[in-house]
């Protein structure tokens, strides 16, 4: 997202922190991420994805397309999987945000879905993997991991350019066997 050219000449001397070409200043907001409050300076147009990656250096959440088409940026907002690239950081104020960084236990024990991705070798380059895993956690919780066909349908929002789909499906099945779902609990 390059700065815009049209507003590049500020009339009065702006505060030093004002990014070039931005009439809307940075403002502090509080985001509740992985169980902790983070105060972060954002512009109103800053997406949750850019706030996570560029401001908070939580780079586990990936930017693939930046347009809602690939799922690499999948995070959870109040327990629901959403796309961080099409969510403004300010829209996420007041919600509980969960990212891939918060998935493993405090002692480093992997989440069942992470362990299943390792066990099934469910990636090649790994770029889509954090999004796949966050999506899979929600998919299982929603009760949509009942069959291979159901997994493929409910994981279709996560593209894998390496084509690791058969292994991803196997990993979701393996993890689903180990985890409760809303539908069954």
């Amino acid at each position: 997202m390059p700065p815009t050219a049209h507003a590049a000449a500020p009339a009065a001397a702006p505060p030093a922190a004002l990014p070039q070409g931005s009439p809307v200043p940075n403002r502090p907001i509080t985001l509740f991420i992985n169980g902790h409050d983070h105060v972060v300076m954002v512009e109103d147009r800053t997406t949750l994805l850019d706030a996570l990656r560029e401001r908070l250096h939580l780079t586990g959440t990936k930017k693939g397309c930046d347009q809602g088409q690939c799922g690499a940026c999948t995070v959870h907002l109040d327990g629901q999987r959403v796309l961080a690239c099409l969510t403004l950081a300010r829209q996420a104020e007041g919600s509980a945000i969960a990212t891939i960084e918060g998935l493993a236990g405090a002692d480093g024990t992997l989440h069942a879905v992470q362990a299943a991705f390792l066990a099934e070798d469910a990636f090649q380059c790994g770029f889509c993997t954090p999004g796949q895993i966050m999506s899979a956690v929600a998919c299982i919780r929603e009760g949509h991991a009942g069959s291979e066909a159901e997994i493929r349908e409910y994981m279709s929002g996560n593209l894998c350019r390496c084509g690791a789909y058969p292994h991803i499906v196997a990993a979701v099945q393996r993890a689903a066997a180990a985890l409760p779902s809303e539908a069954s609990s």
Binding site: P3, T4, V24, E43, R45, G68, Q80, L86, M155, G157
Partner: protein, 328 residues
Amino acid sequence: MRDFAYHRATTLEQAGPLAARAESAILAGGTTLLDLAKCDVVRPAEVVDITHLPGLADIRADAESLHLGALVRMAAAMRHVAVRAACPAVAQALALSASAQIRNMATLGGNLLQRTRCAYYRDPASFPACNRRTPGSGCAAAGGVTHHHALLGTSEACIATYPGDLAVALVAVGAVIEIGTRWMPAEDFFLLPGETPHREFALEPGEIVTALCIPASAASRRSAYLKLRDRASYEFASVSVAAGLELAADGTIADVRLALGGVATIPWRLHAVEAALTGRHPTPATLREASLLAMQGATPRPDNRHKLDLAPRLVHRALEQLLQGDAA
């Protein structure tokens, strides 16, 4: 993405005037608005987040109708028992839309107002000519790749397809759109491009869609949504059909509702096919002949001619599926 200011509205009275300001845009789930802002197709100076407005996220059903608040998320509507019972076509249209993530984010009101996926419309840097985006600038699609473009409801000025699924089901079952204190049939909400393709919806600046309302009917209760796509999932319709059916005691068709998606500039109600079926016995020959009327008046292009065959076949299949439901 260009800069804009963000406002979180807390009452409808506050949101309306804010949204009516010249360079203001309503923000709901953001899955269309932020996408188009990144494409530089829409350039709001301020966005008004309406998702915190109270009372607009209810689903209620009674004997007369099914009421869906404009802020209900797609995922919530598709799995709601009242929606599945009152209008399976709507539940199925939503379930076959976008992805699980987008369905958690997107609202039903925003869904209606999603914009065409025309590649020329979405890329102003490469294709300055687009009458829908910039009135009078021309149409880059006319001489371009038209695989996804419309065959019905087109004009000299614009051939962009309306991409949504939900609206096709709503138009078929005669839904009504609630805009604050006024009401409008869903069929009138979507505007044909004509000479003014930039006017897409029958909404004035600042007007907020507050609810969708589906009148109770036998045809709505026995309805279905079928969608053909270029890939199996997470894809817009190549052709889709919303169909609803009511049979009389003597086995003739008492009421039939049909609309097409993926082939027209607006959700396309099939009045001619409905008329050819109403009062008739649903014999295979009658179904086939009536279905052939689906693409009446179509203007095909080299890349989308296959839809002339595809659409009638899908209409036929939808009707057969609803009739088989009767036998079971």
